[in-house]
């Protein structure tokens, strides 16, 4: 029961969706059924996100209770969770500060704390990539040299001053980069990767539907 029930559910729901692909989804019963299942996934999936929240709260609260290393920071994580979450689920009819609309606490915290912090986290990567370019980007062999030369050409081509510089050389280099590098070698490799990944995803899907792939169930 503990394994058979989930395997059956995965098989039945997967099969319905596969068969429905070949029928009109607006007029046939199987089409409507598949739509119903997809609609339900949205609801079940919503609970998984809430599960993640319960998990992060439990882990951090346990660390605070044990007074383990850095517990004070974890306390701030918990405070931040509740300061964002509680006003957002209260009715905006009670106060314009509640709910998710513009002017609410939720909206303020997102715009002035969360969004700039998320953007800054990613902005720091510019420094790391520059450091990597200096410390690790070496022409050690033929393959690394091809990579290095292509990267340099593309970096020049994608900025106005670089493109102007390339245009000073004979042979319309920017056009050649676009045609033979981006739409030639690059396109071919990306196509190979897309096809390989898609075949992998399709075969993994088949394994899940047939109950061969069960690792998503975890242990126990």
């Amino acid at each position: 029961m503990r394994t058979a029930a989930p395997v059956f559910v995965a098989f039945a729901s997967g099969l319905i969706l596969v068969v429905a692909f070949f029928f009109n989804e607006e007029t046939t019963t199987i089409g409507k059924l598949s739509h119903q299942l997809l609609d339900w996934v949205i609801i079940v999936g919503g609970f998984t996100l809430l599960l993640g929240l319960v998990s992060i709260t439990r882990v951090n609260w346990a660390a605070v209770k044990r007074r383990s290393d850095g517990w004070i920071y974890k306390l701030f994580t918990i405070i931040a969770i509740f300061v964002t979450a509680i006003p957002s689920v209260l009715s905006p009819d009670w106060s314009p500060l509640f709910g998710r609309a513009r002017g609410s606490i939720f909206d303020w915290l997102f715009n002035y704390l969360q969004a700039p912090m998320m953007a800054t986290m990613f902005a720091t990567l510019a420094f790391y990539i520059a450091s990597a370019a200096y410390r690790a980007f070496r022409a050690r062999n033929a393959e690394a040299t091809i990579l290095l030369l292509t990267a340099t050409l593309v970096m020049l081509w994608r900025v106005p001053i670089g493109e102007a510089l390339l245009n000073l050389l004979p042979g319309n280099i920017p056009d050649l980069i676009n045609t033979y590098v981006m739409n030639g070698a690059n396109l071919a490799v990306q196509r190979g990767i897309i096809v390989g990944a898609a075949l992998g995803a399709a075969s993994m899907s088949l394994r899940i539907i047939l109950g061969i792939e069960r690792t998503y169930m975890g242990k126990g």
Binding site: W40, V83, G99, E143
Partner: protein, 209 residues
């Protein structure tokens, strides 16, 4: 933008940038607040857009009682916290995985493999002139050699190994292009933050001082 907002944003921006010098308590504080805000954000969004709009309102307001099924499956997810009944959460997971797999099984083949292979072959038709045909031949060689390079069930020796070697050269060109584009992307994100610091935050100094 109000002064308070600008200074709050600037404080957290600089707090996170301070890590570039070295790890420090202000960075750690900002990092943990950020994690909390991100988790908290989900609650408001999911509560409103899914629990209320997709489950509670149609079920209670419009009598769509069949929604009890996904509702119960959703609650089963929380069974993971109790070892004795944790297996119930597998049913919910299986439902999400099975449905998604059902969509992927056909759309990955129909929407990706077939069109990509189709256009690899159609471009060889030679209808767009000599240069386009040369380009199409390059693409065909690139696609096949890349696929061979990533095929690890056969040893890369002999003709197969030679083809894999050609694949590596193509891959290096593509990864080089990727690196160039990645530099561009990361720099753009930095520009965004510096634009804020220079134009908004330093700009606000004139109001204060």
């Amino acid at each position: 933008m109000e002064l308070l907002q600008i200074w709050v944003m600037a404080f957290f921006t600089l707090a996170l940038f301070s890590f570039l010098y070295k790890d420090n308590p202000v960075y750690k504080l900002a990092e943990h607040i950020f994690a909390g805000l991100t988790a908290g954000y989900q609650v408001g969004l999911i509560w409103d857009t899914i629990i209320l709009q997709k489950l509670w309102d149609p079920m209670i307001g419009a009598g769509q009682w069949q929604l009890l099924v996904p509702g119960v499956l959703g609650v089963f997810m929380f069974a993971r916290f109790w070892p004795r009944i944790s297996w119930l959460s597998r049913i919910s997971l299986a439902f999400v995985m099975g449905t998604t797999a059902g969509v992927f099984l056909v759309t990955e083949l129909h929407g990706r493999v077939l069109p990509q292979m189709q256009w690899t072959m159609l471009a060889l038709g030679g209808e767009n002139g000599f240069a386009a045909t040369i380009l199409a031949i390059i693409v065909v060689i690139g696609v096949i050699s890349t696929l061979i390079y990533f095929y690890f069930s056969k040893e890369h020796t002999g003709i197969f190994g030679g083809a894999a070697k050609v694949g590596i050269w193509f891959i290096m060109i593509s990864f080089g292009a990727h690196f160039g584009y990645t530099v561009m992307g990361r720099v753009s994100l930095l520009i965004g933050r510096v634009q804020f610091l220079v134009e908004d935050w330093i700009g606000s100094f004139s109001t204060i001082f």
